[in-house]
């Protein structure tokens, strides 16, 4: 199994990176925390349409790019490097995978064209093994209930809503204009969450109860697999920017990066980032190939990469010293993204528990 980057993946990376370098400056991501920037709304159409990322995972005969999870992973590495506030993971990966599974040709077409953005209405912290829902379908065929802390919902035109039934879950399609959406003051404002209230929202069954639970689980598993690559991107930015800064910064008449205490920490961090990269590549490759080992690969990647990204971001703040603690320096964007990502799709302990079951190491 190839754990490196292919030429195709590298060239996709180049185009995503050059677009983000032009259009996603850190100061505008920071401005999102004060609620006065439309960066995400400007950026997403460029990525979705100009680069075709909205339909990246959709087969060519359905109008998409026909790429695999490997390419999506590379896109997420770049989005992580820029802490870019776009709904690629929530819409183009998770929601789109459900729409394709439902074979809802019209919805897929709209998603590919970028005219519609979708989100799966579960808390961002819900993992493949732990998701649930309090949203119920009433006799009048409308949905009632609420879901909190949903990622990508503020960008979404439609919501995909898991609804429990006696035998499992249905997945319903709901127009975002039919619900009450309350933006959440989020730890990571570059991926702002929303609370959603369904008060008799009209709904349409997208996937019935025979496959709904599996569809949601698989979508969250794919999301978790690819989040690992975003975490690699975050960690990589933190390491690179810290190394670059410490090659310039002088104290005690010396380049700070020349102190052995600092060098050893950075060496260890480099090892950790490269290890995270191997784990994330393996998760992406197994997802792309539908490999039987993919559940292990996802749990492994999340158990490892989430901590690696947080560690890199924490080292980034600490080793930048005073400037790392300021609002003006972008380090905090990555700390907040990394910490939120660590909780996303379930925390590491849950992934380790999943692994323990999968590899026969019972508690």
């Amino acid at each position: 199994m190839n754990l490196l980057y292919t030429d195709v993946e590298d060239s996709l990376r180049d185009s995503v990176r050059s677009l983000l370098a032009d259009r996603c400056p850190a100061e505008r991501v920071i401005a999102a925390y004060d609620g006065n920037d439309n960066l995400g709304r400007e950026l997403w159409p460029r990525l979705a349409n100009d680069l075709g990322l909205a339909g990246l995972l959709v087969p060519e005969d359905m109008g998409g790019q026909g790429a695999s999870a490997r390419e999506a992973a590379v896109v997420l590495e770049e989005l992580g490097r820029f802490a870019a506030p776009v709904p690629f993971l929530s819409s183009a990966v998770i929601a789109t995978s459900i729409a394709m599974r439902a074979q809802h040709v019209e919805l897929v077409r709209q998603l590919v064209q970028g005219t519609t953005t979708a989100a799966l209405a579960v808390p961002f912290s819900a993992g493949p093994a732990t998701f649930g829902s309090d949203v119920l379908r009433t006799e009048e065929d409308v949905l009632r209930g609420s879901v909190s802390s949903v990622a990508g919902a503020l960008d979404a035109d439609v919501l995909l809503v898991p609804v429990p039934t006696e035998v499992g879950f249905e997945v319903h399609l709901v127009d975002a204009s039919a619900v009450t959406m309350t933006p959440v003051v989020s730890l990571d404002m570059s991926r702002q969450l929303a609370d959603i209230d369904f008060m008799d929202a009209p709904c349409e069954v997208l996937i019935d109860a025979t496959d709904g639970a599996a569809a949601v689980r698989d979508a969250l598993e794919l999301g978790a697999a690819l989040l690992a690559s975003e975490q690699v991107g975050v960690a990589e930015w933190c390491l690179e920017s810290t190394v670059a800064y410490l090659k310039e910064r002088r104290q005690f008449g010396r380049i700070v990066g020349g102190f052995q205490a600092i060098k050893h920490r950075l060496a260890d961090l480099w090892v950790e980032v490269e290890s995270a990269r191997a784990a994330a590549r393996y998760a992406a490759a197994t997802a792309a190939e539908g490999d039987p080992d993919r559940q292990v690969a996802v749990a492994l990647a999340q158990a490892y990469c989430s901590g690696a990204a947080v560690h890199a971001a924490e080292e980034c703040v600490q080793l930048h010293g005073g400037i790392g603690m300021t609002w003006e320096h972008p380090a905090h964007l990555y700390l907040k993204r990394a910490k939120a990502d660590q909780i996303a799709f379930g925390a590491a302990e849950g992934h380790r528990a999943t692994l323990a079951g999968l590899v026969d190491l019972p508690a």
């Binding site: 020349g258 052995q260 050893h264 590549r281 158990a303 380790r352 692994l355």
Partner: protein, 396 residues
Amino acid sequence: MSDDEVADDLRRRVAELLKQHDPATTDRLEFLRARFDAGLAWVHYPEGLGGLGLPRAMQSVVDAELEKADAPDNEPRRIGIGLGMAAPTILAFGTDEQKKRFLRPLWTGEEVWCQLFSEPGAGSDLAALATRAMRDGDTWVVNGQKVWTSVAHKARWAILVARSDPDQPKHAGLTYFVCDMTDPGVDVWPLRQITGEAEFNEVFLTDVRIPDENRLGAVGDGWRVAMGTLMNERVAIGGGSAPRESGMIGVVADTWRKRPEVRTPGTHDRLMRLWVEAEVARLTGKRLQQKLASGEPGPEGSAMKLTFARLAQELSGLELELIGEDGLRYSDWTMTRPEIVEFTGRDAGYRYLRAKGNSIEGGTSEVLRNIIAERVLGLPPERRDDKDVPWKDLPR
């Protein structure tokens, strides 16, 4: 040729070898020599030297076919230094005659190799070594003391770094040799370690005569040659394409599965954290191997060794705690001289003690971190006040 075609061709070659030399009826050594001559020893080596000039990864095709046929192997664990360190160095720096003379018996295991690098006064600072090589016509006369030399008492040959010019700064005055361990001036003494075993030796070299034709690389170029050897060693220790749960994690996981009574929530958490790290390290090694498939080992190999050492130590420590009262017992403190070093061998106490060497041998973890910081990340080098001073003038 596509990979599949190459693999088919290799299978044909293996079938031919097996036809000509049926392992069931052929002498073991004869079979190994025939395998070498067929280019199936290490396919990434050049033709005529046991290989076919193919990508390293194709070796697995050959190995799988030979395993199916129950063919004898060259007992790689017994000749690890030869395979992992001497051979790549000879291949990279040796003359055609040296390659022809040394590689075949090295690979078949007829001739065991050891390494004469470290000295009592030159561990991490290898370039400060004091063993002298003085030229005398067509031979070199070597005097000095080496330590930490595994299998020296079994070895036919050694790779040796010695000081040929003390007037040069320390890195510049070194020369690399192949040393005949049967020379009467070579004296090998066991060096007992914290495990009770003498896995290593001290080697005293007194007027050992080495013909100039056994020099590897140019006079004064020994440091560069030695660095090539050490890069290969670090990849050999930390890299590889072992299956899941190989090495120390496999030992601890087995204990966990076989002994439900030792399980506690606290140890389970530690075990799973380490399982994750070990599996990620395995994937990282696999990724590194893919990167190196055709190229030379770079400083990245240092990362693998760093992780390997840390995990071996943490896991072997966990294992002792896990087994509780049994962890208070040790199998045997008797001094022995093992031929094969197995980090995961013997009992839990041995594994714990032996693992302490993993962060020292082949470059300490501290030196490896310096290497990563300086050569991968480009951070400023450590102060090296001794770098440009003639070696003979260094304080000692």
